[in-house]
Symmetry: C2
Subunit: 553 residues, 2 copies
């Protein structure tokens, strides 16, 4: 068992160093290259995915409810995969039993097993890319990166935080207290790290690995057993992850029920029963705000970590080159059709326009520049397919179409053809002009490719609205464009107070939507968009406790 | 301002090392010695206390509600001190304003200020001892140690945890991501530590500094402003602490409202309004279980850290020397008349008795040995006064007197005279024999000097009852006496599962009630006796968050 640790010790140490340095570091290559992943990796991954279609997902796993599965690819076909399904009571019972032994092995042994799971998951990144693509609608390149290596990096980051926090606590200590002329008081103390118990991770349908792995690996590393509960429309990525994990656990002579899959159907959802089960002590949730807030308030028996949603914003005060800025924003709005929790929704612009290196631009000039950039970016259907992907949830598609009928639409959604998948549900960003006074429209989250261009009194007003919206309704990202250092400082203060990660003057190939493991803290935990961060010390430190035993020497 | 840090840097570094080593270490001498604290320290401390009686507590502090105060010494006289009182809205408003600048100074500057506060608090330990003695009823020696240096050590421990956790996060990072043949992506990132906001610490009447300082100093160190809300019967120790803190803050050019005192009366309590205020983001609570659970469930806007109560137990399986064991237990039951959160209530003993080095002892032999030890320990009135102290709350006294009328009393409470304070409310332990089946009696917390000797089928049964009581109702401490290594291991497993700190075979001058800063984790946070530990990383890591700002280089 300790062989896995020996094998991966170096990676773990580098990860621990990286999360302190917070510079660029990655353990799992993000390039879908045959040189890295093997000559046939792409072909084999696709074949593995295709062989899985219309078939039972073979996994030695509790299944007292038989087989369940009804996934539909956003690219227009049914996956027809059925998964072993178990009831909440059965899952929790088996998880508790398996957790006993898992809690007792050393943190090095656990880290070794978890890094072996990640290594094997990494090797199957092409298969995972197909699974993520056809459950979330992400385009292939994004599904590979976000569903594969980037998610694996986030998992490793959680392991690194948990390991580092636990490693500080000595297993034994000698407590020798001087007593003047008398003999000292002398005690031997033992400290045992104890987990909370059963942990459940509630996944989302847009990032079924990237948002699931941090909670899963943080809880496993801290000695908890884990039940992964994917949404019924995006089971396959979680099922592959669970299967790999169980295989490694069996090899390490550990009860594989340390990690279980909770499969349900839209007709008979199990999530409420699972998160309210008396023995579920940790809950990680990613998803809509309403249900996340319900969990925060209705599972008092558990530690609850949430990533919900909010109102991400861009504030434009002044720019150097409008074209470069518009290009960057256009990509941010288009990427995965605005289905990222980091996609900007609200763009605040002074109604009298802005200054640029090439002179003054009116409000309409600015919005037009962005609209033109979107049109250009998505003008080529092949490129558009690669950027937009497809819409995961029909409700998101309907919302976007509805928004195209709103007043003052600046740019209607483009709906490029997808040559490869004719049934793909695709829709590009719709840009709508509103006045700052219309907060009833833009201060509601409109998940998907819908963005508001908001005419503000001036730049200060723009900043004030963006920051107060974030404080009140939550936000994960914000961006500012300004050539004025004092205004940038003001922006930094305002968004720090609102607990939002800020990006300043991004142009070129780096986007506000992107969040890099080991460097960017994803979600601050300091506004209504979520109470936790992926990852920081607070994310791991309360998943375990210390039990002590002391005796006289 | 940074001078304070320079002055105390060495102490902080030692504290950080100590909390990792977890051996014996203390920054503040526990001996009330004139050599350490000065020739006149005892006399001056008493004089300062006496001068305060019947007077207004002079402190430059918000007071929109005028003056409030009605403390009564458990030693039989009224303190007649009145304190500046402010309304919840006023306190929170001023706390928020003061918090802005406090959040922005560096962690070294904050640490320096906090350690200067502790240094000055330490210098006034004799005055504090009087204040603690005459609000809690603790005997002088205990009031000095627990109210003074031990509380200061716990404060420093919280500062050390918070500083260490925050110091890991760099203020800046350079993120340079290779792009093959192209130029790397190059970003500069800034990370700002942001506090949660206003923190409120709800004190208890038995340990008004020891249990208040950890939350107070953890929140202050992490940049939050703090409102201390002592119970209306034990304000003075908190008021002295707040006054010293505000003086240091003013010297450091910081708005003293960073630390505020919330004074109320039993007739018009403010705690519910305070903890439910929308701007109160952190709550530390020590006190009874009912109100603690209410706070856990009714302040969703805040991070809540609780220390409540539970059923502490002793399991006796076998002993070497019964006399030594009985002496140790007798002291644990008698110390501060059982008013410690660490005092054992339930003593589980096999009904057929136990083995000792001197042969078999029956159940009655064991209970009789403990009863005799209590009688001997408290036989000398002067010594009894020094151990028992006085009873803080009349309800605790009434409960003890009532218990003396229960069936099967083994030892009735001794009520020794107090020569110095005639009106002292004093009562010694009452020991009551019950059968294991009478869980309705012993599975209820009876705060004060009431202990049950519980006749169990055998040692395994004793352990099972003790551990299940702890899991269900909470427990902070447990003790075991056994000469059988296998049974001790079994006990360690059972209490680790129940999240209780265990002491094995204590005899002599070390007691289950005692919990040493930097070494013993006080409260596990893993059973209903409380959700937090004083202190560990989890206690501090979620009191602040990280706000990031990044830009292209």
């Amino acid at each position: 068992m300790s062989e896995f640790y020996t094998l991966h010790k170096d990676t773990l140490e580098k990860a621990i160093k990286a999360k302190k340095d917070r510079g660029y570091w990655s353990a799992y290559p993000e390039t879908p290259s045959r040189k890295i992943y093997g000559e046939n990796a792409a072909k084999d991954g696709l074949a593995a995915f295709q062989a899985q279609l219309n078939n039972e997902f073979l996994m030695d796993h509790p299944n007292d409810l038989g087989l369940i599965g009804d996934e539909k690819s956003p690219y227009g076909f049914d996956l027809k995969i059925s998964y072993p399904a178990a009831s909440v009571d059965e899952l929790v019972k088996l998880s508790k039993i398996a957790g006993k032994a898992w809690a007792k092995i050393s943190i090095s042994e656990r880290a070794g097993i978890l890094l072996e799971i990640l290594k094997r998951t990494n090797a199957r990144s092409f298969e995972m890319a197909q699974a993520v693509m056809h459950t979330t609608g992400q385009a292939f390149a994004m599904a590979f990166q976000a569903g594969g290596p980037h998610a694996q990096d986030r998992a490793l980051e959680a392991v690194a935080y948990a390991y580092d926090t636990m490693a500080e606590i000595p297993a034994r200590a000698s407590w020798v207290k001087p007593q003047g002329k008398h003999d000292p008081l002398n005690m031997e103390k033992k400290f045992r790290l104890i987990p909370r118990g059963v942990s459940s991770v509630i996944g989302c349908s847009t990032f079924p690995t990237w948002n699931t792995y941090p909670g899963m690996f943080a809880s496993l590393m801290t000695g908890n057993s884990v039940i992964i509960k994917p949404l019924s429309g995006a089971i396959l990525p979680a099922a592959i992850s669970v299967k790999i994990s169980r295989e490694v656990l069996v090899e390490a002579d550990i009860d594989p029920n340390v990690i279980l899959l909770g499969v349900d159907s839209a007709d008979a959802p199990m999530t409420k029963a699972l998160v309210q089960h008396a023995d579920v002590k940790i809950i990680d949730y990613t998803g809509n705000t309403e249900f996340g807030t319900w969990i925060e308030n209705n599972a008092p028996q558990a530690q609850v970590y949430t990533e919900k949603a909010g109102l991400n914003s861009i504030v434009i005060e002044s720019v150097d080159n409008m074209r470069a800025v518009a290009g960057n924003i256009a990509f941010s709005l288009s990427l995965y059709s605005g289905q990222m929790c980091t996609t900007p929704q609200n763009i605040f612009i002074p109604k009298d326009g802005i200054e640029t290196a090439d002179g003054h631009l009116s409000f309409d000039d600015v919005t037009k520049a962005i609209a033109i950039s979107v049109e250009k970016l998505l003008g080529d259907p092949a490129r558009a397919n690669g950027i937009l992907g497809a819409i995961q949830n029909p409700a998101t598609y309907d919302r976007a179409i509805l928004a195209n009928g709103e007043a003052n639409v600046i740019l209607k959604s483009l709906e490029p053809k997808n040559e490869e998948f004719e049934g793909a549900r695709m829709v590009g960003p719709v840009l709508i002009k509103v006045d700052a006074s219309q907060s009833d429209i833009y201060e509601t989250e409109k998940f998907g490719p819908i963005s508001y261009m908001i005419a503000c009194d001036n730049a200060e007003h723009a900043l004030e609205l963006a920051a107060s919206g974030a404080s009140q309704h939550g936000a994960i990202t914000a961006a500012v464009y300004s050539q004025n250092e004092a205004f940038i400082e003001q922006t930094e203060d305002a968004f720090a107070d609102a607990g939002v990660a800020l990006s300043c003057n991004l142009v070129g190939n780096i986007f506000v939507n992107q969040s890099a493991a080991f460097s960017d803290y994803h979600v601050s935990g300091a506004n209504p968009a979520g109470n936790a961060c992926l990852s920081d010390t607070a994310y791991v430190a309360n998943r375990f406790r210390v039990a002590a035993s002391r005796k006289l020497v």
